[in-house]
Symmetry: D2
Subunit: 268 residues, 4 copies
């Protein structure tokens, strides 16, 4: 069934690459740019995908925003946020899927929190820890704006001091000193399950790697870097963009195994 745009609906209004905006429809709201004005109230009752004309005759398209469109536009982002290239890869490595219970340490603006919540809902949960109260409040408000807060338990705490949950399905860690929580994450996870750590510098990577090795409860430790190269689609001049985001961080993945020295011996 095709959805109608209603009071309070989010829309992605697109005039051209430089004039695109996520907006919330209300009967009285207008949108203005150098390409003219659009009466957003007039969209109520239309379907997504409709084309409208601005006050000065420019064409605009009204798309349905994806979760990514929303989190990267609507969210207040005082801190550095994860990019889709990294989030998408981590989501697959962690096997995020409906019903899963996920630990997140380092919420920041809540971008990854929202992306995970969107995939585990309605039964799953994100248990999200943020050390900074100001960031946690921003994240919570962000999640509320797009209705994702109901799938998230957000706690203001230094996760290095321990987390409340046990037997979680996966963990995503994005903090400056991830080596401090290696044991906490270990204790929160179901045995056999994965964690992903996101970390930007060579120095942090070396220190995290050492911590994972020395902990002895982690195996299958791998690291990748994901790069996104934008391609410019100009007519008769398709080419990689001149500039790109060259580095965000390294993604280190590992799986928890039991440390108990009472190994089973099942060789024949």
């Amino acid at each position: 069934m095709v959805e109608e745009i209603a009071e309070g609906s989010w829309i992605l209004l697109y005039i051209d690459r430089k004039r695109r905006k996520i907006l919330r429809v209300s009967s009285k709201a207008k949108y203005s740019s150098d390409k003219g004005t659009i009466d957003l109230g007039g969209l109520i009752g239309s379907t997504y995908g409709v084309r409208v004309t601005t006050s000065i005759g420019a064409k605009a398209y009204i798309y349905k925003p994806t979760t990514c469109d929303l989190v990267y536009s609507v969210f207040s982002r005082p801190s550095q946020v994860i990019y889709p290239k990294d989030a998408g890869y981590a989501i697959l490595m962690l096997d995020i899927s409906p019903g899963k219970k996920i630990l997140e340490i380092g919420v920041g603006s809540g971008v990854m929190t929202a992306l995970i919540a969107n995939l585990v809902r309605p039964e799953g949960r994100v248990y999200a820890y943020e050390i900074r109260e100001d960031m946690a409040k921003i994240a919570l408000e962000n999640l509320r704006r797009i209705g994702m807060d109901r799938y998230v338990e957000l706690k203001i705490r230094d996760a290095a001091q321990g987390v409340d949950e046990k037997d979680l399905d996966a963990a995503f860690i994005d903090i400056g000193d991830p080596w401090r929580v290696v044991d906490v994450v270990y204790n929160a996870l179901k045995p056999g399950s994965p964690a992903a750590f996101f970390t930007p510098t060579f120095n942090q990577l070396l220190k995290l790697h050492t911590a994972l090795i020395e902990h002895t409860g982690w195996g299958y430790i791998e690291c990748v870097e994901i790069l996104e190269r934008p391609i410019e689609l100009k007519e008769n001049a398709v080419r990689p963009s001149t500039r790109m985001i060259a580095h965000t961080g390294f993604i280190v993945t590992a799986k928890k195994h039991l440390k108990d020295s009472s190994d089973k011996s099942i060789g024949d």
Copy 2:
């Protein structure tokens, strides 16, 4: 609750980077490598994460495989398959999430089909079209092995001749001549919704781009290439790997808008 390994459970057996294997547990099965033998039946009743010792004393860890672990190991893959770096990005761009109804054209071995099914289940569906009967059969058998077939409707057909569905939430297209299905995909999608096309060569990219422009029903057309750079985590010698997969394909995304010339005019 911690899961126990049972008859028929999939496990990821990990000795070291070169000796890792996805296996199905049964009371009579054994696994042998140059590092010795393991009696898989002995794992029944254990939890994931357990450490076992092979017949010659090597240590092996038993992890719970992720969906990615499964599809890239268990699936027969006679054709080129999508990589997690590309799949994860496309999943976010298409807003794949629980309950969504997704069109897939070009199933191949079913890797992307499984990754999408895992995220839309249990209510959502993948409507998957494959022109080659032999590939479709392989894909279906692959999906069955990991229990994902119940979320997929697989049809053996040249999708360029039309698909049966309407008002789908998103579409993923991975075929050699994607320009042939631009209109079919358009007709199958809800207005305002996204499609992602995966295509390897410059020539195909230019041709697809032209087809999308000329169709006039697509907007917000973007293209990226995603690169995955593996980092070698050797003690005291952490470095990017010497070799990497340098190119898989370009991901072109676009959103459907209405072509109807009877535009609304809502400027004030």
Copy 3:
């Protein structure tokens, strides 16, 4: 023997990454920044490598500029210029070396002209063609400033109409429509010798490739793209830079062979 700084010497004055400048020393010149003033005349008679103190006590180092330091700082650059990553690779592929005679089509600001001249001098020559008179004048003035004009013959002409030289050792072509000069370059080169074409878009690359194939006088046709990833060397935070130049152009190399149908037949 250690060189002394003299009237007219070029220096690279370096305070920190954001405050570095190529300057020409004269008895009356001063250099001022927010870090204070330096009397350049006071450097006359010093050696390169000296450390000086500005009027407000900041430290500055006086290095000897390399040819690259000079061309990327001193040259007026109204047009896009080649980067060292591409120039260095092309120089090796073309076997630029002392005494060689090199064809250049598309001089622009003269950056590549200068880099080649610096390597073929004093006996070699660059025969450089530029279609735009304004650019040619800028290039000539640029070359004069660093004393490289004496190794260059610069001609204002559309090279597609033919060049004056024959039996040149190599050719470098950096123009928007390189397919137009494929035959001209062919005629100017010694048989068996290399050409390198620099071209930014997929469309141009496909068109150039077709032109080289159809000409039938070119073989060993290869293409690469060179990427330079800057690494930030901050204490305890070494990492790839957040942003980089992601694309400049493709480098297509080919070698000339004789088209004469009277092949030698030397099989035994």
Copy 4:
């Protein structure tokens, strides 16, 4: 003047991408592949660029090899060698040019030695240090084969114990523990002049960076990584190659300044 192929000339024989070979012409030599045999003696007196036919009718082209063609084919290479992408960049950063005197530490197979020698000849020199006698002998033999040994002084020595030269124009260092020679390189260079260090791992990079900072005689310290992405030029299927060399090493550049505490004070 067009060169003739003579007894002892190097040629690049090219049948197709998989059948190309650098060969030395002699009156009695033959070249055989699955595409037939060629009598190399029959080439004497021909010009480069000639097309010949093999015994079974395949076409082969005879190009003049570049220095790169030679060093990567003719040289025995028991050790990892530098790639053109890195060599070309370093050559520009070091301002290698005719007449310069260059320090090289870590000769290996002599690839970089040859590339530098080719650019500083006939007046310039490479002062090349190699700790391993076996490697030094291989390098010397390699250099002799292409006539570059006359521009090189090769010494078998641990350069960390000091080098014989002073006031050199630039230095290139490619050894596993470059921090050991930071002071030796410093003492060998003219003040104000550049050094380039090539190093593969994150660990080495961090250690080298620390050594350069702590030495206090180095400034303008920069680091880049150069990537070469091969593009496949197949008809109607141009695309980046599936695989590439993803990492060779980091290039760290720095310039020498005087450490003397008796700074000039030239502020006004």
